[in-house]
Symmetry: C2
Subunit: 323 residues, 2 copies
DNA sequence: CTGTTAGCGCCTTCAT
DNA sequence: ATGAAGGCGCTAACAG
């Protein structure tokens, strides 16, 4: 089942078989047919490992995510996978759960030549140990861009998007706008908070930090907000799931959304359109985020000399019923 | 940066370096230290590809999922990844979107020796093209077990679980119990429907098929059910998300759950506990499903002669508020 | 157009 | 305890 058995049964050299395998046009049609027949006869399956070793190209991309369950991530990954497939690449998906041991284990595949490059969607940049592990392998950060690193990035302008969300709330007449934020180690969390604060200016502010980006955490965060002596009349949550949780709490308390309290989300995941009421949110171009990440990474792989770029994609304010 | 540079700077042979790398005890401590120092000095990173080729073991497992967004899958995958990590294995996750081209592309990595085995969570068994691609590589089906194939499987008893769900509904006094099913190409869909029909016996029956296992599809399916001349007073949905969608529709129509219509789910994903009301459901041992799949697969990889096993795990009826 | 040859980087007998 | 040598399966010059 190795290439030279095929060569022998076809009566040619291994080089010729290899040429046929790789679609090299410089092969006489007759011999090509002979080889093809031999391949079929031997039920030959190329050993990709050997090919990868020889060409020092695995055509595999590592994708590091903290939590695949997050629908935002899932959609970005879909974009990544689709674009990678177009270029004949495969995806090695690592669901790190933000565990260092796991991340570093996967990152070792980079130096080990098992993958040609890496796309990170986690806050890698604040883990010095990991960045040294990446060394100067092709790397792009997706959805989280720290220009301080030797990596390209594809993101939206989180500051402006957050500010726009607050502006929209203010335009609708809300005065006491609170923020439900997530883990501040993420640059995007910092940026969105900065955008929130800038847009609020000297007006009323309240920020609360959720344990995760998920629904349940949103319920708790909202509860916390409503222990304040003067609770908010509008809430801007940093993820749609968080916003969903916030509405859940509001309903539990008998508050109407948006009459008693407005709720605004972030991300634009499908879930937002099935909540009661449907969620007004900032939509990120999830698919495109993934697609561009792959394109940038592939450019880098093909030519390590190309400069790193920090690409900013457009977001969109989607008005539904919750504001 | 290859092994023989290390060997030269340490003044030993490549064999010795290899021994140190692999923790072979038959190395004098002194020489071992020398080698270790050389490794550090050279910033040596072993080429995993070469090692894999030489040992014909990649320590990578392919996991084929139709849709990672599905929280049931995500949780199983988490179990898979955790167990794999324990044994020094990595996961190559393929989100196939049930697209044949993508599945076959990934499966080619199996014959190409890039992965040592595969865990499928998709209805692979009804795609003859794919099963031949798998050939007789180590394979276990997870959550979906077709004993007709040369693969082990880890599942629950879908027939009994579905029947128990219906029995519970009947015990609570509901008479007109409908089923929201999914894609019948999946064996579990067939089995759950069979369980439903068996438990209903000669009583009222109505089955409707949703386009996917997701929320939105549940809304539609429920709507369809309520076009019936005599709509159901209870609904058993084949996934929790579907059940959530069903409740959504009920609320829209001003129906109370469970007073006007009871709703029961399947899977036991976290989402079910945040719905209004919280979902009564059949809980699958998601984590364990993943863990056992890996264990079975690894046994198979270590010893291809072991017999295939069809393992059945326990499920649990979780009563919350929707029934 | 096709064959010969030389590795890719590593592990692993077989000697010593 | 260590070294020498062969080869995993493939591709890529270089000849012819």
């Amino acid at each position: 089942m190795s290439i030279d058995k095929v060569a022998r049964t076809a009566g040619v050299s291994t080089a010729t078989v290899s040429r046929v395998l790789n679609g090299n046009p410089a092969v006489k049609p007759d011999t090509r047919d002979k080889v093809l027949a031999a391949i079929k006869a031997c039920e030959y399956q190329p050993n990709l490992l050997a090919r990868q070793l020889r060409t020092s190209r695995s055509r595999m991309l590592l994708v590091l995510v903290s939590n695949i369950t997050n629908p935002f991530c899932a959609r970005v990954v879909r974009g990544i996978e689709e674009e990678a497939e177009k270029h004949g690449y495969h995806i090695l998906l690592c669901n790190s759960e933000s565990r260092l041991t796991r991340e570093s284990a996967y990152l070792r595949l980079l130096s080990g030549k098992v993958v040609d490059g890496v796309i990170t969607m986690d806050a890698i940049s604040c883990l010095p140990g990991l960045t040294t592990l990446i060394g100067d392998s092709p790397w792009v950060q997706c959805g989280e861009g720290d220009p301080g690193y030797r990596a390209s990035s594809v993101t939206i302008d989180n500051f402006k998007a957050a500010a726009a969300a607050v502006d929209h709330l203010a335009t609708c007449g809300y005065k006491r706008i609170a923020l439900i934020n997530g883990d501040l180690r993420y640059l995007y969390s910092q940026q969105r908070e900065a955008g929130y604060r800038a847009a609020c200016g000297k007006n009323w502010q309240a920020v609360v930090y959720a344990d995760s980006l998920e629904y349940q955490a949103g319920v708790q965060a909202m509860a916390e907000l409503f222990t304040l002596p003067e609770p908010p009349d509008a809430v801007f949550a940093i993820s749609d799931a968080l916003a969903g949780g916030a509405m859940h709490y509001a309903h539990e308390q008998g508050l109407r959304v948006p009459e008693d309290v407005a709720v605004m989300g972030f991300d634009g995941v499908p879930f937002g359109s099935v909540t009661f009421p449907p969620l007004t949110t900032i939509e990120q171009p999830m698919h495109q985020l993934g697609v561009r990440s792959v394109q940038l990474l592939l450019e880098r792989i093909d030519n390590p000399e190309v400069e790193t770029v920090n690409e900013i994609l457009d977001w969109k304010l989607v008005v539904r019923g919750s504001v």
